[in-house]
Symmetry: D2
């Protein structure tokens, strides 16, 4: 087990004892979820997936589908057309609030239910099946494998969906939705019922982290500007009326779902997903939120953390009895890892396969929390062993 | 004139023709401002200040004081104590809205008037003068020079301040404010009346960009976690009911003031300030907003822009008739500049003072918008000439 | 033409020149109404109907059906059961507002659309036809003749009814509505499409004025407590966000409809209805509102007008050349008319058919505005002529 | 003890056991009130005051001053000028809500705190003392005796009045209040601190009931149209967010105060006041509300009760062994009492002082609840005995 996986496992165990919250109760399928399930997955720049806990457990994607369907709408119609129908402001209200913009009937943003239904209504296709197929295809491209709809969850959602139908009729009365209410909400209920694992979600999040390019499949799923727009909306509005607190404490674009999942994105660094069915009073998973908060803190992923990009360490290379050793001293900022990697690759290019290289970080006065993990990750691509001294 | 200054001057001229908006009218001192004033200033990592336009024009800081007084409150009381009195959520409402949290009377966040008054009320000191002195001292440390209060603006603000007094009485009725209403609002009116130039504001913004460390004076003004908290709140709530749109389009923590200024922060990269007195219907400077939007776009400063940190260029060095030349090809990402700087410094160390080095970027397939400016900036510290080929 | 009819005609002509407003536009059937139509009808205690203007013009009842369907719900379920599903407070909002009580989803009152739909949903019957039949039967009993549904208006309402469907789905999500959304809203659209004349409406209003007893047919339609409850709700909530102003200026329970009608009730005195299709910005008929305001003023019908019940006139009877004369002097309050009527009937009982009696009111220092009209009305039942001297 | 007094005493005892609620806590003077105090007073058309319970207990008038200060503002400025500064719509919100009309800053109505402060600010006078004197003079004229301010309650109110000061500053920022905030709120706090008994309040209420004419002193205090306007506002807005329910259940213009009093007005019939310090969650006296509800029910005072004015009984007069007897049969409506009184007075005029007249109501099929009480009241002015057979 590598350093990063160890770090993830530690984070998982730290939150396992959190006993608060309850599974979502509004449909039986969610209420019956095993409340003790717990999983975490992280995907980094080179597409390596690291998962711990119940990584194979499947659950429905629910509201975590919203950013990706927003991406599809942006691809199909462009930014101006999409934001003519739905706003970009946090609503300061719960996910299922009924408030729409006074004169226009526009929902506040694409990540509350009303806005998500309006966004889904923009997706092309003659009927519910055609539209759903298009959405599932995109979700699958983000996830890097073919996803499926859980038809029994869908049926439950549809049969209890009065509130969402109300929103759709209301928006239709303003012309925000042009298609029939059934077409809009049935497609929406189906998209929410796509089955995913925590691994799928982490790959999806990483595809947003790397500008729409899936680092696992190597496929470009959406363009960079689409990814950036989606992340911007997630940063402002992804956590409903907890969005400001989330920015303060975690500082990552994120989106949660009522099934107990959460995705978070550290741009250019990681896609993260966590899963645990018990929810707090905001409808967010108690333990999944706690894990992401902790990872952000430990890995220094807060968007507004000043990454001192110029803090480059002093690097020296010595031959020792154990083979070549790279010694670092001074400060190692995040961007400074690039410099070390340069040296490291150069050295590596002259070493025989299977040899071991030592990285001595013991004299670093100060290290960016994620820097060593990045260096270690870099090493994975090489046919060499790495001995890390910290 | 260097590349960056040229870029700034271009941005300035591009918005000069924008004729919309009007100067703030609620006090005569603001209404009388010369509506054509226009200035822009940027401070980068090494503390070099570049300003263009009416860089010496003084104006009152107004609401741009709010993030810095929040910083002072965080220093004096800690995060928990401050956010017990004031929320961290965008209000989705105009700056002077009367809404407070239903049961507690807490204002939504520290950047609307109510929240700023509550924050100011936390600053220690026996009377208005003592409290004001403390605040001005901190603002001065952020700006790197001693700032002063414009007493006539202060007098005007105080005489028309019924709405702010209403907010203060209301918060006092909930116990959000413990001190007398006069102590809270008179201190607040004074803080808003501090005189600054666009250069001062850019230095203040850069101090937030570099984690509370003033890159011009080299003084640590506040701790990193304080700077991060302030930037988080600016990102969520800095542009009132335009905050979500701002995140979507600009992607930088920012704060505007009714005098026509705006500050924006690219963490670890730049502090930016712009100034032009005519305001739009949200109370933001028409031309200052336009400049910041443009700079963010051109320099790729959007927080959620995927900075492809691993895109490092191929670097080769040749001796030519004009002296040594560094040739770049492939892709130059932002973090990739570090690699080039390494080579550049190595080369430079072997060159005589006054010699000229050539940087040939003509074969780069793709370049991060700010990368060359950063390289150029790096060069400024060296006793050498630089010839840039693009 | 008697005095009262003359008074009505005068009122009608006085508002005829009001040219403001426009016919309702949301369905073609309403938009095509002749905007110049104008009619007024009043029904007094003995069931005599007086109508002037376009009294035969038929139009759909629209929101004026709401108080009567409330009456039916009260009959079927009792006050407690009805007000468990719908509130009794003015909403301070327009008729089609989306706001429901926070925790319960109850609409504010039965006279806004949401509340009317919830009330209609309470009416028994297996399907839309059965429920509609029940409602039309009650409306007919109030009107004293069989009413019909305008099927083309109904079809239009149903095809554009997204907003009302939204409200119904929303209330269903709270359990405020138990039946299917279609059953509730289709019945509601049909009830709104019942065709009435201004005469029908005046009879309906008079049935409320006389405690649920139809003074034209002599049939008891609903009980007194039901009539009182309906009038109470009309007094508080009948004119939407103009209800307080209406109470101040007019002082009568009332209800308007988007087809241009309005009903008003002077308890124990009159039922009034007016009709003219052009609407103001609140959706109330410009000229119908003006007529009712005027009548209330002239006839002293304001509920809170102190009717000085003890102001009884001095009454003396003389034989004159023209036959017997009743002379009134002093003050004639509303209740004081009873005393005069006593004398009048006594005298009349001794007079031959066709004889003429003189009522000399010239020495009254002060007269309740409606008193003489009431006396004149009393006389209508007698086989005698009346000469009124004022 | 007469019939009416007996009825009042019965009503009082019936609510005495209600143990809910607590005295107002926001100032010590109110919290220290004896929670068991209980009193009721009714003033009828001829100015006879009937009081039961702790009728001499003094307490501060608090919000019950609001309708009378509204009357004074209407006298001084006229209806249009007053309602230019304050609305006439129920707010649907608690008494101390902060909401003002969006663009104008007008408070919703004169009976919420904001509206009352705006109304008080309209009263003429150079300083707080002059303005207070004017108000106390009017309150005294309504009460029929000189009232005084409780200075210690005033001092308490003033020292805890942040919320009301907030409202005043806010309204001043809109120009709704022209005078200084201190002038407005200090006058307001003083008006609320006037000391009254339940008897005073009943006389004040009866002065509104009889069109502004004080039936005890015989003095005209304000004009009829002023009284009518005040009653209209009390009907719409007097019970805050319980106004609609109050109209439904009680049907009388009313106003309560936080000291535990309530006044209610049956126009042309009675002024009523009740007092008991324990308050419910709306800030209304638990037992005072219950008494007024009960009285309204028993005396048939609901404004929208159809008073069948034409239901006149058959009246016959017989000489019996016990002296003359008036026999009533058929129905006795409220207005029908006039007819009986006519006969009664005629009979009485021929009877010797001290004789007894019998009123036999045993054959009435149906009687207005208050009719016999009114007849009995009528009798009080005569030098005769009355024997009532029911």
């Amino acid at each position: 087990m590598d350093t990063i996986t160890e770090l993830l496992r530690g984070a998982l165990e730290e939150v396992r004892s959190l006993g608060d919250g309850a599974t979502a109760s509004y449909i039986p399928e969610l209420a019956q979820a095993d409340p003790e399930r717990l999983a975490l997955s992280v995907v980094g720049p080179r597409g390596r997936v690291r998962s711990v806990g119940d990584e194979d457990a499947e659950f429905t994607i629910q509201s975590m589908s919203k950013p990706f369907v927003l991406a599809l709408a942006l691809v199909e119609h462009g930014r101006d057309a999409v934001f003519a129908k739905v706003g970009a402001e946090p609503s300061g209200e719960p996910f299922n609030a009924i408030s729409l913009e006074a004169d226009t009937g526009r929902p506040a943003n694409p990540l509350i239910n009303a806005g998500a239904i309006a966004t889904t209504a923009l997706i092309g296709g003659d009927d519910v099946d055609a539209r759903t197929a298009r959405i599932v295809e995109l979700l699958s491209a983000f996830a890097g494998r073919s996803l499926w709809i859980d038809e029994s969850v869908y049926a439950s959602e549809s049969s209890t969906g009065d509130r969402n139908r109300a929103l759709a009729h209301l928006m239709r009365s303003y012309g925000v939705i042009d298609v029939s209410v059934d077409l809009a909400v049935e497609t929406y209920f189906r998209q929410c019922s796509a089955l995913v694992t925590v691994r799928d979600l982490a790959v999806m999040a990483s595809t947003l982290a790397f500008g729409g390019w899936n680092p696992v499949t190597g496929e470009r799923v959406v363009g960079e500007s689409v990814a950036r727009d989606v992340l911007s909306i997630m940063a402002s509005c992804g956590m409903y009326d907890y969005s400001g607190q989330w920015m303060l404490r975690v500082g990552l674009p994120a989106k949660s779902g009522v099934s107990g999942g959460i995705i978070a994105v550290a741009p250019s660094q990681f896609g993260v997903a966590a899963f645990s069915p018990r929810l707090d009073e905001h409808g967010n998973s108690v333990r999944a939120v706690a894990i992401v908060e902790q990872l952000s803190e430990r890995l220094g992923m807060h968007l507004l953390e000043p990454h001192e990009s110029l803090a480059a360490p002093a690097v020296s290379v010595e031959g020792t009895a154990e083979g070549p050793t790279i010694r670092l001293s001074g400060e190692l900022g995040f961007a400074g890892t690039e410099r070390v990697m340069l040296v490291l690759r150069e050295l590596a290019s002259g070493m025989p396969e299977g040899a071991t290289l030592t990285l001595d970080a013991r004299e670093l006065a100060r290290t960016h929390p994620a820097a060593l993990a990045v260096l270690e990750g870099e090493f994975e691509g090489l046919p060499l062993g790495l001995r890390l001294q910290t």
